[in-house]
């Protein structure tokens, strides 16, 4: 894999993982409020 390939892969994986973790944290934090 060339350098551009690595940059594309690491950027995409990093962005997707960070967004997924962020969303799940928000969902878990929002849930107790919704239950009140």
């Amino acid at each position: 894999m060339n350098v551009s390939g690595w940059i594309l892969l690491l950027f995409s994986w990093g962005f997707i993982l960070a967004l997924t973790v962020y969303c799940f944290v928000r969902v878990l934090r929002a849930k107790p409020d919704a239950d009140k």
């Binding site: 894999m1 997707i16 993982l17 997924t20």
Partner: protein, 353 residues
């Protein structure tokens, strides 16, 4: 049969219950296969490593961007996986309450979907096939179609590994879970349409759906080798998704109105969508999708319509598939027309003293 049973039990009792255990299981299966592929090394040839397999997917090829087919496939892929343009997400959205947070739900399902398809899905089949079949075979593997990739190439690749039977089981379980969770969602709009618009009971609506889909599925099974599934996949899973998504975005931004839509989106939402998306949805997305469709039509419609790339023996099957799709679309249009008429008559009756 399983599809029908799940649909019969409804959204909460069927689809939600199925997804609650099927989705985590799908992620577990995907992660097992991902770890196995990442630790493959280069068992067949020192030059055919996993890293080079990833290169086949990730090394940018800017020349491909000139091909409208690439853009159409990419747009179709993202619309299909997010259930946009097929009525699925609209049907699910109709079950939400005003207070439900559509921004966070939408962003979470999009992120999780990308995790499943880009990180997990994109790291299994192509890199594994590259490791065992090498770079020369990859072009034909990638072009062999969705069905071949999952049901022919991948089992052949898994056979080369220790614990092939176990990994094969995990792979087919993953395909089964991905398939059934999608197909119940795809069935729900049709069943809900029959129930809501024609006042049919759920039992009867599911029965009608079961009989119709049973007959409609047969060509895909018996004429698979003639390219019927790939033809259905192209029109139903790519081209018309982009067409319908374009219509949806026009209705959303220009008919429903962006200001009303913006209020509706943020009702009960914890997160705010950046305001720039108001401009993007209204002024960028529709021309962008029109440009994709227009360029594709300009570049490819004639060879596709003339079936230039289809073998002569398969042409009658492809033609029959297209005729079947037109007939299906016409039937659905008639049913929608009838439903509108029923609604109009019901509204008139209500107004009459």
């Amino acid at each position: 049969m399983l599809n029908i049973a799940v649909i019969y039990f409804g959204i909460k009792g069927g689809i939600a219950r199925l997804c609650n255990w099927a989705m985590p299981l799908l992620f577990i299966c995907g992660t097992i296969l991902l770890v196995r592929v990442l630790t493959l090394g280069a068992p067949a040839n020192p030059d055919w490593s996993v890293a080079k397999g990833f290169g086949f997917l990730w090394n940018p090829n800017f020349a491909a961007l000139k091909n409208a087919h690439v853009w159409l496939e990419a747009a179709g892929q993202i619309f299909f996986t997010l259930s946009v343009g097929i009525g699925v997400i609209l049907t699910y959205a109709s079950y939400l309450t005003k207070a439900d947070d559509v921004v966070l739900s939408g962003l979470t399902s999009t992120a999780t979907n990308e995790l499943a398809e880009v990180i997990i899905g994109g790291s299994i089949v192509i890199p594994a096939a590259f490791v065992f079949l090498g770079p020369l075979a990859m072009d034909s593997v990638a072009r062999s179609g969705t069905f071949n990739l999952g049901f022919v190439t991948m089992p052949l690749v898994l056979l080369q590994l220790p614990l092939a039977a176990l990994l094969g089981f995990v792979w087919f379980l993953l395909l089964f879970l991905a398939g059934i969770t999608s197909s119940v969602s795809l069935a729900q709009p049709a069943v809900a349409f029959l129930e809501d618009e024609f006042d049919i009971t759920r039992k009867k609506a599911v029965g009608i759906f079961a009989v119709v889909t049973f007959f409609l599925c047969q060509p895909a099974i018996f004429f698979l080798k003639n390219g019927v599934v790939d033809e259905l996949d192209f029109w139903g899973g790519t081209f018309f998704l982009v067409v319908f998504a374009t219509i949806e975005v026009l209705l959303f931004a220009w008919v429903f109105g962006m200001e009303d839509a913006w209020d509706e989106i943020h009702h009960g939402a914890d997160l705010r969508v950046p305001r720039i998306y108001k401009f993007i949805i209204k002024y960028i997305t529709p021309p962008f999708l029109f440009a994709i469709l227009g360029t594709w039509l300009w570049q490819e419609w004639l060879p596709i319509i003339r079936m230039d790339t289809v073998a002569a023996a398969d042409r009658p099957y492809i033609l029959a598939t297209r005729a079947g799709l037109i007939l299906l679309f016409a039937t659905l249009a008639v049913l929608v027309g009838l439903a509108w008429r029923r609604k109009r008559l019901a509204a008139q009756e209500e107004q009459t003293p």
